[in-house]
Symmetry: C2
Subunit: 221 residues, 2 copies
DNA sequence: CGGGTCGCTATACGCGCGTATAGTCGCTTG
DNA sequence: CAAGCGACTATACGCGCGTATAGCGACCCG
């Protein structure tokens, strides 16, 4: 039993039709997006009639809010466990726990595109969590970052999300499903490579910055 | 009748209704996605009747194919110019030319999510183009990358795409619209910072890799 | 034991969509 | 000048959607 969180344990009731609908909605929203997912299909997956969805949740938008709420609670619980077990910067816990909230992750990524407010809030929190990881502008004297850490944190967060968002294309490039065990491992290892190696030199970055100031001139005059 | 207030001064030949429809579709597909965009709205934007869209393109799917084709041609032309003018690894050209194909970029990003085959093909090409940029596994002896370059190239490509895909959230975190001049510049500079600085040490990466094999336990080093 | 609530289904309504078809206008051409 | 033809519009059809409402059996409670 790993129920460290212990706040209202919904495990007992999770066989109710209401929970099944919520889970089915989570899956459909994650897979097809909010607009494309239909109440009828969600009901079919949950094994109930479409009317029951409305009976329990009132409307499609309210159903989304319920799913958002559920996901938010799951993420918070995971986060609490992560904070409790792993110390600062314990990458191994984060790496190992990733498969656990994979379905939730896919939902959240889609929700970011579909305009879910809960997802937007979580994005902001992730940016905040990522910010301390960014190298500080004054950390080294030569070639130090010139942009503020929050901007970089937001970009890194969006970039990490992009991998999951484009899982179809990433999987095609890899030749293996990103969400399979092997694919997931390859992605994780490669991400560590990416995060631990600079792609360009600080000199190249400086010259590119210079190019930003002189737009449109593709060749030296 | 045509809306007399056609404000934007576009190219001389592109005033035909067919071109206007195609451009309107590009914008609507980019903004709302393929499914959400409606022929009626596209026609309204183009200043024509919905029937004309069908007259010229036959179906919504065929309209998408036409837009895909148009976008593909634009990207190829840009690419040719880049290859002709800029030499190997000329970042300043890429940086300076970015605003020019911004609308096309947004369309392509959405198209990646909407299942456009042209976009998928371009993604694969971008991966191929990114691959030579990846540090080689044998480049340095200590802490060298352990994953193949193609995997890393695919991930970097998806990550770069993620920034544009989540422009709404990135803009919120930045406090300024990512597609404004100021926002775009800040993003570009920050991206250069990210690309030119490693986020974690190779030691941290190694310990995280160890964590991948032994889920749930361990602390670094 | 009987009324009320709750979980659940069946059916229907209105709407906006993509698509289809018939018709109008204006320019070309022999 | 008249016939033809392509650009373009008006209108309508069918479909699937979210939503609404009525009804039905099971269970609780006084």
């Amino acid at each position: 039993m790993t129920t460290a969180g212990g706040s209202d344990a919904v495990d007992v009731e999770d066989l109710t039709a209401r929970a099944r609908i919520r889970d089915a909605a989570l899956r459909h929203f994650a897979e097809d997006g909010f607009e494309r997912a239909t109440i009828r299909a969600i009901a079919r997956t949950a094994g109930v009639s479409p009317g029951l969805v409305r009976h329990h949740f009132g409307s499609k938008e309210a159903l989304r809010a319920a799913v958002d709420d559920h996901v938010l609670r799951m993420v918070r619980r995971f986060n609490d466990e992560a904070l409790a077990s792993g110390r600062h910067g314990n990458l191994s816990f984060a790496a190992a726990a990733r498969p656990a909230l994979r379905p939730v992750q896919r939902y959240l990524l889609r929700a970011l595109l579909d305009g879910s407010k809960a997802a937007a809030k979580l994005f902001d929190e992730m940016v905040e969590m990522a910010e301390p990881w960014m190298p500080q502008p004054d950390e080294t004297t030569d070639g130090a970052p010139v942009s503020d850490r929050r901007t970089r944190a937001a970009l890194i967060t969006a970039m990490a999300a992009g991998v999951g968002l484009l899982h179809e294309h990433v999987s095609r490039a890899l030749g293996v499903d990103m969400f399979s065990d092997e694919g997931d491992r390859r992605v994780a290892v490669a991400m560590l490579d990416i995060y631990s190696h600079a792609l360009i030199t600080t000199d190249m970055a400086a010259s590119a910055r210079a190019g930003l100031d002189r737009p449109g001139t593709e060749s030296p005059r």
